[in-house]
């Protein structure tokens, strides 16, 4: 936090100093709240990842350095064996699944969300109801909607197969969630269905903050609507869109409950969070799971930083005005 500027300042200086003081007071409650809730759990997880803690003895873990991440042992035969998460093919499979899932789902959701937002932005009869209808997928608790979709995607009595058979798109009933080739597709479809409303709503809010007169000016000038979209709407919408994408990315990279319910043990869909839970809880390798969680944290941090840097997201607001 910056200190107050030296004395003998002009009224403009004292004003900005006053503003900065106010800013500090405004920031403090939020930071304290976050610190209280998050600091202990987060730091503990990182600490655990360097110990051999198990859930049965949470308090007697010993410091073992980076062994959970990577370590090696030399056998008497002279062969070197690598151990730890970073040498675990299951982990890298999960990383690949997660990244693949996140990139595809967020890309799809962004495009679809934008389309839905543009539609909702129009003034037409019953748009209030349509807006409410669009929000339904987001409003149903994930644990319910995941099971619901599991039911609908069932090969024998699922309605999806029934519809596709009736339309003639498929010839035999497909076991969507069982099949290694289609499991990821199924998860992607459900996730896109579920979270597009989130994207759409944030885009819509962004659209509605854009002053109307800009459009009217473009209309008067006779600019083609598609040109208006790419030249006017999209640039103005960009900040809101970028933030929406960051949060979707964050959630997608941590995706857990949908996969945990829909295809919990398929290696085609096992993501980092799922594998971390497996180790943390089921396999009683708490420290190992903590190491995986920390790696996931690091990966997300890298992703977000890269995104902010490549996407030139204006964090400090220096360029906005």
């Amino acid at each position: 936090m910056p200190s107050s500027p030296p004395s003998g300042m002009s009224s403009r200086h004292s004003l900005s100093a006053q503003r900065r003081r106010a800013a500090m007071w405004f920031l403090a409650p939020m930071l304290i709240a976050l610190f209280c809730v998050a600091a202990w759990p987060l730091l503990r997880t990182i600490y655990f990842s360097f110990t051999n803690t198990t859930l049965t003895s949470l308090y007697d873990g010993k410091w073992i350095g980076f062994d959970n991440y990577l370590s090696y042992r030399k056998l008497s035969s002279g062969r070197v064996i690598w151990r730890g998460t970073l040498a675990d093919p299951a982990w890298w499979n999960a990383v690949w699944n997660t990244v693949r899932f996140s990139v595809v789902s967020v890309a799809l959701e962004t495009v679809l969300g934008l389309i839905v937002a543009l539609v909702l932005h129009q003034n037409f009869k019953g748009h209030g109801w349509v807006r409410a209808a669009v929000l339904i997928p987001w409003a149903i608790p994930t644990i319910v909607s995941a099971r619901m979709w599991g039911w609908m995607l069932n090969d024998q009595f699922g309605i999806i197969n029934d519809i596709l058979l009736n339309i003639g798109l498929i010839e035999t009933k497909i076991a969507w969630t069982a099949n290694i080739e289609t499991a990821m597709l199924a998860v992607l479809a459900v996730d896109v269905w579920k979270t597009t409303p989130f994207m759409a709503l944030l885009c819509l809010a962004g659209l509605q903050m854009i002053p109307k007169d800009i459009y009217e000016a473009a209309k008067v000038d006779g600019v083609h609507p598609i040109r208006v979209f790419f030249k006017v709407t999209l640039p103005l919408l960009r900040p809101a869109l970028m933030v929406a994408v960051i949060f979707r990315m964050l959630d997608a990279l941590r995706i857990f409950d949908l996969i945990y319910v829909l295809t919990p043990n398929s290696k085609a869909t096992k993501t980092m969070s799922v594998i971390a839970r497996e180790n943390l809880i089921d396999f009683d390798k708490f420290a190992y799971g903590s190491a995986q969680s920390t790696l996931l944290f690091a990966l997300i941090a890298i992703f977000v930083s890269a995104y902010i840097w490549l996407g030139k997201v204006d964090l400090s607001g220096e360029h906005s005005k």
Partner: protein, 275 residues
């Protein structure tokens, strides 16, 4: 002619969007009227109006209790988060100081850990504070995902508001608090309502924390209560009852959206100040 074609295409698009969004919910409604073996048969329409699943859900005293708990918890979480986020995002968006970017990243970092990994630590914290098995446990722990989100979104939107109105207010001698509440908030309705709604649904749907931090039926929230709805015997999944419960808890959210429509529209006209 092309105008007519455009309109047709537009409504076709609306129809597809609504259809895809609502169909699973519609199917849930159909399923909620079924019992027994009928659950395993595919139907496209309601074949018979059998309210037994609804009666089943509504007659369980703890279910309505859990709806009330959820409303209370989600509303408090959102209220708490919005209050902290509005003030914080004013500071982050409108006041120039060093390290703003870094601070924003740090706030974001809080929601970069998988939930399951922070569960044990949060549990200890909550027990240490003595709020285990009370609504406060959820209200507190939900800030971990609502606060970064609301702060970021509101900061982005607040940054885009024109400088001129703020300067005008400063010349009039308004304090930062007055600027936030009197000048910015009315302009921010679309953003406020949207983030509030998304955060509300996020809190409403949260499952893992709610399950871990409660130990009695009367304290549980809706997703946990739904997960606890069970068949008559082990392994049996009560699809009908499950769907009835899902329909019941989705309706308030739809109502919420419809109520806040007006606010979103109100913001629309007020937003046209710039330029």
């Amino acid at each position: 002619m092309s105008k007519f074609l455009n309109a047709t295409l537009f409504y076709a698009l609306v129809f597809v969007i609504v259809g895809v969004s609502v169909f699973p919910f519609y199917y849930a409604v159909i399923t909620s009227f079924k019992t027994g073996t009928a659950l395993f048969e595919v139907d496209y329409f309601i074949t018979k109006l059998d309210f037994s699943n609804y009666i089943n859900v509504l007659s369980s005293p703890n279910f309505m209790r859990s709806v009330w708990n959820s409303v209370l918890i989600a509303a408090s979480t959102v209220g708490f988060a919005m209050f902290l986020a509005v003030t914080a995002s004013y500071a982050l968006a409108r006041v120039r100081f060093k390290g703003r970017g870094l601070l924003l990243i740090c706030i974001l970092a809080v929601s970069m850990f998988p939930q399951i990994a922070v569960l044990a630590g949060l549990f200890e914290l909550i027990r240490a504070l003595g709020i285990y098995n009370t609504p406060w446990a959820m209200i507190l722990s939900y800030t971990i995902f609502t606060l970064p989100f609301t702060v970021w979104v509101l900061t982005t939107f607040m940054r885009d508001l024109p400088v001129e109105i703020e300067e005008a207010a400063i010349i009039d001698g308004a304090t930062p608090w007055v600027i936030i509440t009197q000048v910015f908030l009315p302009l921010m309705w679309p953003a406020l309502v949207t983030t509030g709604l998304l955060a509300f649904i996020g809190a409403w749907n949260e499952f893992l924390f709610a399950l871990t931090f409660t130990a009695s039926e009367s304290q549980r929230t809706v997703p946990v209560a739904i997960a606890l709805l069970s068949g008559a015997s082990e392994f049996e999944i009560p699809w009908g009852v499950l769907m009835a419960a899902s329909v019941i808890v989705t309706v308030p959210l739809i109502a919420l959206v419809l109520i806040f429509q007006r606010k979103i529209v109100a913001g629309l006209t007020a937003g046209g100040v710039k330029g």
